[in-house]
């Protein structure tokens, strides 16, 4: 069988594609197959570039043309284009550098943008304090809704104390 594209070499690559429920068979020689966009062997499909494929589709604002070229992480030198290609960030600062692109992606993948789990023991005391205050404020609102005013007053006082601690820590 000859290659369907160049019609010169022997077809050695046989691909069955299923698109919209219809089956399609393609027979190509190795060279044409390599060039063919349908099955780019040069860029194998990985979870990483699948993920970054979502990058520009999930965000709401239109992409600025020069974002890809100019946005580069100052700490590790990772460019947005490189990140899109690798699917991996270069350092912790990349999260800030590419924040506007990353956050919608993270939301899309995890359904959330807020970490609620473990906080580092040693470094996390301030964060832990902030989280405690946040949770207490929620409790306070609930208490007020339920008209449990005594409990609300207690919570309010506790929050005030913790907020003082936070000021000292900062």
């Amino acid at each position: 069988m000859l290659c369907e594209k160049c019609k010169q070499n022997k077809a050695t690559v046989h691909v069955t594609k299923i698109q919209n429920n219809s089956k399609m068979e393609v027979h190509l020689c190795e060279e044409c197959a390599r060039k063919s966009e349908d099955m780019s062997f040069e860029n194998p499909f990985t979870i990483n570039n699948f993920l970054t494929g979502l990058l520009d589709s999930v965000q709401s604002s239109p992409i600025k043309v020069d974002y890809i070229k100019t946005t580069t992480c100052s700490k590790c030198g990772m460019s947005y284009g490189k990140f899109k290609q690798l699917g991996r960030l270069g350092c912790s600062d990349c999260y800030k550098t590419f924040n506007e692109k990353l956050m919608p992606l993270i939301k899309n993948v995890h359904g959330s943008q807020q970490h609620t789990g473990k906080i580092p023991k040693k470094e996390g005391s301030v964060i832990r304090l902030k989280r405690d205050i946040m949770n207490m404020r929620k409790d306070l609102r609930r208490a007020i809704d339920k008209e449990e005013f005594e409990r609300a007053a207690q919570l309010r006082d506790k929050i005030k104390l913790l907020e003082k601690d936070l000021e000292i820590d900062n």
């Binding site: 979870i47 990483n48 993920l51 700490k75 590790c76 030198g77 990772m78 690798l86 699917g87 991996r88 960030l89 270069g90 350092c91 912790s92 999260y95 990353l102 992606l105 993270i106 993948v109 995890h110 359904g111 959330s112 943008q113 807020q114 970490h115 609620t116 789990g117 473990k118 906080i119 580092p120 023991k121 040693k122 470094e123 996390g124 964060i127 902030k130």
Partner: protein, 342 residues
């Protein structure tokens, strides 16, 4: 032999092992993907020192292996024992691993992230596994500053791991659900709650030996405890379904099932040439036979060990020589016959 393979664990008939993996990075270094060889050596030193130069009981229990110091055969063995991932080997001049004496904990250094803490226990004990991983994480954090963000949590090289950085999983043997063609439905159901099921061996959704891995996909917005607890619930439900399916198979066609199991046992104990795909399939039948009391006198632990030992890397280690594919298939058949004879 790692504890997960030949150790005692609750419910280890259907659930082979429980695993927790935590992804962590050091704040001051670029992630491994952007790390020079020189800097990566520094990271290995910094991370391994937290355990090996520390003053906890872990100090004498762990051993550091730099990936460029061991042979390809030894790397393959570590992969087949699930102590390291294949991608750790891809950058051997930059990576290392610390493993403890009973091989229940491995700490990969400079894989996709600087630190990957992995705890692997036999049977169904996810909470215990998480507790250990959590403690080791605390011990490492005593000495280093992690990359952590107030809002999105532990920062990881791939945004799919950000937040808790946790991947909780169980390895589970589901022959009856596979036989009655139920796996796709389970797959769809667990996907909806942020979990995934995939075949442990073989490509794509096909699983050789009916071994599956169930794990969380979502790492952000839920606590570690919530993720672990949900996996426990999911695993319990799937285990119940598997038991129901087994009971149905026995009730409807016991003789046919018994025939299949005994035939597989017969082939395993007599064949002279056996590739790993066939071996995994037949061993799955025998394991089911043991669970159902059809095959007696074989310990399920021996089956676990066999399942691991028939992989090409370990098989060559046991035979103490390099084998080509044909030689491996013969050696594999020999090993299986020998192990199942006694």
């Amino acid at each position: 032999m790692p504890k997960w393979i030949d150790g005692e664990g609750p419910q280890n008939d259907i659930i082979i092992s429980s695993r927790i993996r935590l992804a962590r990075n050091l704040d001051e270094f670029p992630f491994p993907v952007a790390l020079t060889t020189e800097k990566s050596k520094e990271v290995i030193k910094r991370v391994s020192d937290t355990i090996l130069a520390g003053n906890t009981i872990l100090k004498d229990d762990f051993k550091l292996t730099q990936m460029n110091e061991i042979s390809n055969g030894d790397k393959q063995v570590l992969i087949e024992k699930h102590l390291i991932s294949p991608s750790l080997v891809e950058t051997s001049n930059k990576s290392g691993v610390m493993i403890n004496s009973d091989e229940s904990v491995s700490i990969m250094i400079n894989e996709e992230d600087h630190i990957r803490i992995q705890c692997l226990f036999p049977g169904f004990q996810l909470k215990e596994t998480w507790d250990l991983a959590n403690k080791i994480d605390d011990i490492i954090e005593e000495e280093v500053k992690y990359a952590f963000d107030e809002n999105v949590g532990y920062l990881t090289s791939c945004p799919t791991n950000v937040g808790t950085g946790i991947r909780a999983s169980v390895m589970i043997h589901l022959p009856a659900l596979t036989m009655i063609d139920y796996m796709n439905r389970i797959l769809q159901a667990v996907n909806q709650i942020g979990f995934t099921v995939r075949g442990l061996y073989g490509e794509g959704s096909e699983s050789e030996g009916n071994m599956f891995q169930i794990s969380n996909q979502v790492t952000l917005g839920r606590t570690e405890q919530e993720i672990v607890q949900t996996l426990i619930e999911v695993t319990k439900q799937i285990t119940n379904k598997e038991n129901d399916a087994r009971a149905t198979l026995v009730a409807n066609n016991k003789m046919k099932l018994e025939d299949r199991i005994c035939r597989s046992y017969g082939i395993l104990t007599n064949a002279r040439i056996m590739n790993s795909k066939e071996a995994l399939k037949l061993i799955s039948d025998v394991r089911l036979g043991i669970d159902l009391g059809i095959i007696k006198d074989i310990d399920v632990k021996a089956i676990n060990v066999l399942m691991v030992d028939i992989q090409s890397g370990i098989l060559q280690k046991i035979s103490e020589r390099n084998l080509n594919t044909n030689e491996r298939d013969i050696e594999r058949a020999n090993l299986i016959r020998e192990r199942l004879k006694s």
